[in-house]
Symmetry: C2
Subunit: 343 residues, 2 copies
């Protein structure tokens, strides 16, 4: 299963994970989009050489995008280990992944370097500390593009300054049910934060999973960004919990009916597509977090959500499949998981 | 549970039950619609008196419609023990029900007497024989309106002649899924038979349950009517079985998925309305008949279908309930039944 999710975490009933990433560029190279394959290979070598001295002990593996099959590329994205943008420039991009999967250093995404750290639960401070340490080590060997007045320079102006994007993935089934997401979008926009669905097209939130992140990287220190996001997330967690409490107290039977039907369908289906499975798994996670289901293994539902994504299924089975075959394997994976629960 | 369903039966995988009923009228009385309450009470006394000598040993109970609560009336209808028309003239109508529930003698339905016999499975010959015996006994004491050229006279011309309607209740999930019901309607119409959904509004077949019956009562003997219906039903049973086989062989996984999802929903729901429950129970019955589910108790699904009808639930709980309360009790009844299955 997905390694980076291994940990005891804070607010796990609502917060799935915390992520920070910083964008950095080297002074001597043009931005990745305008780079030839030759130049990008040279940049990659420079970065790898700079790391040899410090990082071999950290157990990073180095992966070139061009060496991966399409389903392997998508599977890394589904596990949130690399960004979708990294696989756009197949010949120029690569990444370093730490063996605990909590750190990824992406080379030639939109910027020369993107350092990502990923931790389960609400852990933004640890995330940022880890990110900052790696940044310091890299900066001791490489010359980053930096201006006193602007901060770190980036390919897209929205990242100039700290180059920091901090984000938190949340499970918000009850705010979604109660129709409160639109007002949340508005409230977050006013404080410079943005919310979007995970995995869905556009703003659709499959599995009721959302990502909240900062929009501005300029004019605030990294610590201010992290601190503000932390405070707001704590408020959103409280709102989701209060809505759960309200729905359980006032519409308990309808809610239980909905959640247990999802449990029944997942325990018995023989074919299921990814979107439907995600939404039923969201209901089962809610049932577990609301103590309606008590088997402890249900706190691994998020890992199951990743395991049943289309590319990850194909990677794990080591073959390409059409949709019907994936839907069948997905149903089997889920049923096995649920039957083990009951055993 | 419903007593008349107790029996080993023929073609139980497709045929739920067989029913015959004959219409008879007494010469000295006007038809029920035009009768005063006083006259109808006198007619009822005449019939009861005529039966005293022969029938006390048969263990019939006598019930006046006006002595029943509305939910008791509906419950008798849901159990198929009386016709919906019998409760239209509340003050004039009554019935005699044999303790095995296989025979009902309705007084002042559309005609003075309607004798109904009801057996599980495909049993038209036994049904008719039982009906005919009771008819003979009654006729030995009462004077029935009869003309040599027309046969038995009835309130509605469609019953003149034998006064016999024979019908069979069938479970046709796969002919329904395959979209073959319309062509079946056409084919049956051409041989003087009619098919309609049970319980549904108009032609809608809730729970994939249909009733096929003869339309003509004139120009054929009782034996010819029974024989023809028997032959046609046997053909319909074969068509349903062949379609099941075809779907299992060619779309097995989709079919299994559909049936097991119904099983999962019924085992876990907390609220369910009557129509949804009937349709899922139809799927579970199909899964059992196709040997996908093997617990022997599933051959009682038809009884469960009756037990969860709105009026029967209220009769069994001995109180009136709003829809949400019924939906909750219905879900509990079904869950208990399904959990017992697994225990």
């Amino acid at each position: 299963m997905t390694k980076w999710l291994d940990n005891d975490t804070l607010h796990q009933d609502v917060v799935v994970s915390s992520r920070t990433r910083i964008a950095r560029n080297l002074t001597n190279y043009t931005f990745p989009l305008y780079m030839s394959v030759g130049e990008s290979d040279k940049l990659t070598d420079d970065i790898l050489n700079s790391m040899k001295e410090n990082y071999m002990s950290w157990n990073f593996k180095f992966v070139r995008i061009r060496d991966l099959t399409p389903r392997e590329r998508l599977s890394y994205i589904e596990e949130h280990l690399i960004s979708p943008d990294l696989v756009q420039k197949i010949d120029k991009s690569s990444f370093l992944l730490r063996d605990d999967e909590k750190v990824t250093i992406m080379i030639n995404e939109e910027d020369h370097l993107r350092i990502q750290t990923l931790l389960p639960g609400l852990n933004l401070t640890d995330c940022w500390e880890l990110c900052s340490n790696i940044d310091d080590c890299l900066e001791s060997e490489l010359e980053f593009a930096f201006r006193e007045d602007l901060g770190y320079l980036t390919a897209c102006p929205t990242n100039v300054g700290t180059g920091l994007r901090a984000s938190v993935m949340l499970h918000l089934p009850c705010l979604t049910m109660a129709g409160n997401i639109n007002s949340l979008v508005e409230a977050l926009r006013k404080v410079g934060l943005t919310i979007r669905g995970i995995y869905g097209e556009g703003s659709e939130a499959i599995g009721n999973l959302y990502q909240i992140s900062n929009q501005t990287t300029l004019g605030e220190t990294e610590e201010e960004i992290i601190d503000k996001l932390n405070k707001i997330i704590t408020q959103v967690v409280t709102r989701e919990r209060n809505t759960r409490k309200y729905l359980l107290e006032n519409k308990g039977l309808e809610l239980e009916d909905r959640l247990f039907r999802s449990y029944g369908i997942l325990s018995n289906c023989r074919l299921i597509n990814s979107k439907e499975a995600m939404n039923h798994l969201s209901n089962v996670k809610l049932a577990y977090d609301a103590h309606l289901l008590n088997d402890e293994k249900f706190d691994k539902i998020i890992e199951l959500m990743i395991k049943i994504r289309p590319a990850t299924i194909q990677k794990d089975c080591n073959k390409d499949m059409d949709q019907e075959e994936r839907d069948k394997i997905r149903a089997n994976i889920i049923r096995d998981y649920f039957l083990d629960m009951e055993g």
